[in-house]
Amino acid sequence: MTYLKPSFRHPALPKNKVGFTKVDYEGAISTLCAGCGHDSISGAIVQACFELSIEPHKIAKISGIGCSSKTPTYFLNNSHGFNSVHGRMPSITTGANMANRDLIYLGISGDGDTASIGMGQFVHAMRRNLNLVYIVMNNGCYGLTKGQDSATADFGSVSKAGKSPSPFPAIDLAGLAMEMGVTFAARSFSGDKQQLIPLIKAAMSHTGFAIIDCISPCVTFNNNQGSTKSYDFVRDHIEATSELDFVPERKEITVQYEEGRTINVTLHDGSFVHLRKLAPNWDPTNRRIAMDGLQQAKNKGEIITGLIYIDPDSKCLHEILDTVKTPLNSLKEADLCPGSEALEVINAGMR
């Protein structure tokens, strides 16, 4: 019986800039089904945080309820965590973010947690441009309750539990996010870490709300023939907008590409995203083109992945509200209480 992960690691594991190896970003051994896409996303998060050289205690991982929302146990053991109420991850995160703006917020949610019970919270967090990386582990079904269709199950998709194909259209989370004016939208696939890791890194460096709608096959209930969220179906229908690299600091790019085929998007912190476009005329900084592209892909039956849209000049909730730069939890009495003399002045003004 092995629920125990050996503690031995590769003896030559590289260290990142802050002196940690990948092990320092790992979590407990997963109890999800073997082959669950969610575990790959956890692996990508571990790798992305390691590569970004973020100190684990500077991250807060917050989740709701569901298979997806269990995963924060399986990565970043040394980070802050809050496993909240079903669909309420955005409001918990809003509170935490307001109290301590210095942490990086990593919200983990699933298709049920986001597109059904948490829909209201989801759209409002986007509308407010909360500084949050919001990863949806999207498998199109309710795995924890034995695989019923979720609101992201595609029209006509057959799950292992459902006798008939889904009669309803799916909620397209990336499309909805675009409609809500999100400042960073991406879609990816748990089986494509090469794309997912730089996307997570870019999302963590973005200021404002960053959604990654990550298709993550449910091996137990939704990896069957007829499902549109199986490993095979997704691989057959996937179309990437671009190949992207996340570059943490300005470096000269030595590789030459055909004119008009590459785009660099510089983020707030000076890092940038380097994109090699696969689809002509794609411009991830142009909301209209991005929305058109999403719609066209949908019409063609393609699953478009990669960075869909980014607003590098986005203003997050703190900037919109012009909140104090110091995290609220660090403000001292002297900062908050102007003193009796100031009170006297105010009172005098009332007389």
């Binding site: 125990l4 503690s7 031995f8 690691r9 073997a34 082959g35």
Partner: protein, 594 residues
């Protein structure tokens, strides 16, 4: 890279580092699991089939398996394989019931074995059950060869050796003990043997021709002769001050023996640096533990004799320098020479082969260093009837190598006497793969990897052992210690078998692997692939396991280097593309032994 051919028996064999490194390819993890299960008799028999002397080797083996042990690459120290072997030998039950039983049906052929050491005894063990009439010649009154004459009884008690020698002798071997063969032609070849095996070891200890050597006379001893004289009780005393020259295992045995025979100021003096000493680390440690200083970088120059009595030796001082090719030069430091007092000096600086008893006109050619010209695979000499093995074949090695030679020579002799091609008709190893799955998280082997450090074996009190050379120093593991040490074994013979057609590329194995062995990537040549794996891939001696092309045009690459064989890849695989299968590789012997 081309997909790995796991049907090739050598691929998975190489993954079992200990077994691969063992000259006799003893299935180490197999018997370690039996020890953990308390099945000591069965563990002993696995050993006996493979190396004939489990009790002897469990104490004295050179342990090429231990530096090879995978655990040494992820943990500080390897599994104490040798000491575990001893646990099986010490606790075994009735093993005779499993051994071949005399009488065997005669096949009418006669074989002579010269020298009753480990190589000859192995040949005897392998060939006797096939019906050969075997004649074993040795100059001493008992079998065992160097295991008896060279290994002091505080490391190998006589009863342990006697028992294992007798297991072989009792297979109906005709012994000719107290018989020093002085002529191959007259005493052996003239008697009409169908084949002859020479396992006479490397019996001649090197002397040191320095000024004063002749005058020093009987107070200077040759290491191997000294040890033999003690073993056969021709000698039981030595002076108070003793110098042992040499840095090999014989030197260690000589100095420790001297401590037990009255030497209370025993020094080992070596001409080269400590790190270049040939002795096994644990033997050096044991010698130091018996208050024997080891002095390095001191080449001997002269025996000092006054009035016919040895007074000591003069040594120079050197330092070692290594050129860019790693070749060592010993350069004098210019410091003044050192005089070291001594009543006795033991010279243990190496052994040579000597075959004065083999006449030159027998068609047996000798080459470099007076070694016979042999076929490396078959051990056949230039006289097709005559085979060599053990130290007599390629110079001084060790017991386990002698046993490995014996097995191969026995196969050659058997094929030769059946008029078969001894090169081409050699039997292939037998191999087996058994699935280990019992449930989702249950395997037939103990898959969890324990963190325990290597257990130390208890020693008898020094005050006791130094008084009596027959008291064994190491007490061996207790049952519990044996169990715990056995649990440290990573079960490298339980192989990770990958089935490309089942893989859905979900990455579950990549994510769970504690040591980052697995990568899915685009194919390339080996050098290129090694730069693109999940973790650094620096050990080029460890193979990459490469799959066929997967649906996404990638391949699965597994670096075997630090795989813990924990089975997590197979547990997390939703389609059983990974499976844990026990691989049993067995070197085929001349005939079936068990």
């Amino acid at each position: 890279m081309k997909p790995t051919n796991i049907a090739d028996p050598e691929y998975f064999h190489k993954v079992v580092d200990c077994q691969y490194a063992c000259p006799a390819h003893t299935p180490v993890p197999e018997y370690i699991r039996l020890i953990a299960a308390g099945k000591y008799t069965e563990a002993y028999m696995v050993n006996w089939e493979s190396n004939v002397f489990p009790g002897v080797l469990g104490r004295t083996c050179d342990r090429p398996c231990e530096p090879a042990c995978r655990r040494g690459r992820v943990d500080e120290e390897p599994v104490a394989i040798c000491r575990l072997k001893r646990v099986a030998a010490d606790n075994k039950g009735d093993v005779l019931q499993y051994m071949p039983k005399v009488p065997f049906k005669s096949n009418g052929k006669k074989i002579a074995l010269i020298g009753a050491g480990p190589a000859s005894l192995t040949v005897a063990r392998d060939l006797a059950p096939l019906g050969y009439e075997i004649h074993l010649y040795d100059e001493w009154h008992k079998g065992g060869g160097m295991m008896r004459s060279q290994i002091p009884s505080f490391r190998l008690p006589e009863e342990v050796l006697d028992e294992e020698v007798n297991f072989v002798i009792d297979l109906g071997i005709h012994t000719h003990f107290n018989h020093f063969v002085s002529s191959m032609k007259e005493e052996i070849l003239s008697k009409g043997y169908d084949a002859v095996f020479v396992g006479t070891g490397a019996p001649r200890g090197r002397d040191l021709e320095l000024p004063g050597r002749k005058d020093a006379g009987s107070n200077v001893h040759i290491g191997v002769e000294f040890l033999a004289n003690i073993a056969f009780e021709h000698k039981d005393k030595i002076g108070k001050k003793v110098i042992v020259l040499g840095g090999g295992n014989t030197a260690m045995d000589c100095c420790r023996t001297s401590r037990r025979l009255g030497g209370d100021d025993v020094k080992v003096i070596v001409r080269s640096p400590f790190k270049d000493m040939k002795a096994s680390a644990w033997e050096i440690e044991d010698a130091q533990g018996e208050d024997i200083p080891i002095m390095n970088n001191m080449p001997p120059k002269e025996f000092v004799v006054e009035n016919g009595t040895l007074k000591g030796m003069i040594f120079g001082k050197i330092k070692a320098e290594y050129d860019h090719l790693g070749k060592r030069n010993l350069i004098p430091t210019g410091e003044p020479d050192v005089f070291v007092k001594a009543d006795d000096v033991i010279i243990a600086i190496g052994q040579d082969n000597a075959f004065p008893w083999i006449e030159k006109d027998l068609g047996i050619e000798f080459g470099k260093w007076n070694l016979p010209v042999l076929d490396r695979l078959t051990f056949q000499s230039t006289n097709p009837k005559v085979f060599f093995g053990g130290d007599a074949a390629f110079g001084p090695e060790n017991i386990i190598t002698a046993a490995a030679h014996g097995h191969q020579a026995a196969i050659s002799i058997h094929l030769f006497l059946e008029n078969k091609d001894i090169q081409k008709e050699r039997p292939a190893p037998t191999t087996n793969l058994y699935r280990q799955k019992m449930g989702i998280h249950e395997w037939m082997y103990d898959s969890p990897v324990v963190n325990d450090d290597r257990y130390k074996v208890t020693h008898e009190e020094k005050s006791v052992t130094l008084k009596n050379r027959k008291v064994e120093v190491e007490l061996g593991f207790t049952h519990l210690e044996g169990f715990k040490e056995a649990q440290r074994c990573l079960n490298c013979d339980v192989q990770t078998v990958f089935n490309t057609s089942r893989c859905i590329e979900c990455d579950a194995c990549v994510d769970i692997c504690p040591t980052d062995c697995i990568t899915f990537t685009i194919n390339g040549d080996e050098e290129d692939l090694r730069t693109r794996l999940s973790a650094p891939s620096n050990d080029l001696t460890q193979d990459l396991f490469v799959s066929d092309l997967l649906p996404t045009s990638r391949i699965m690459v597994k670096d075997e280097d630090v795989c813990l064989h924990c089975g997590l890849c197979a547990e997390r695989c939703p389609t059983a593309a990974w499976d844990m299968q026990k691989y049993l590789y067995s070197v085929t012997k001349a005939g079936q032994i068990l």
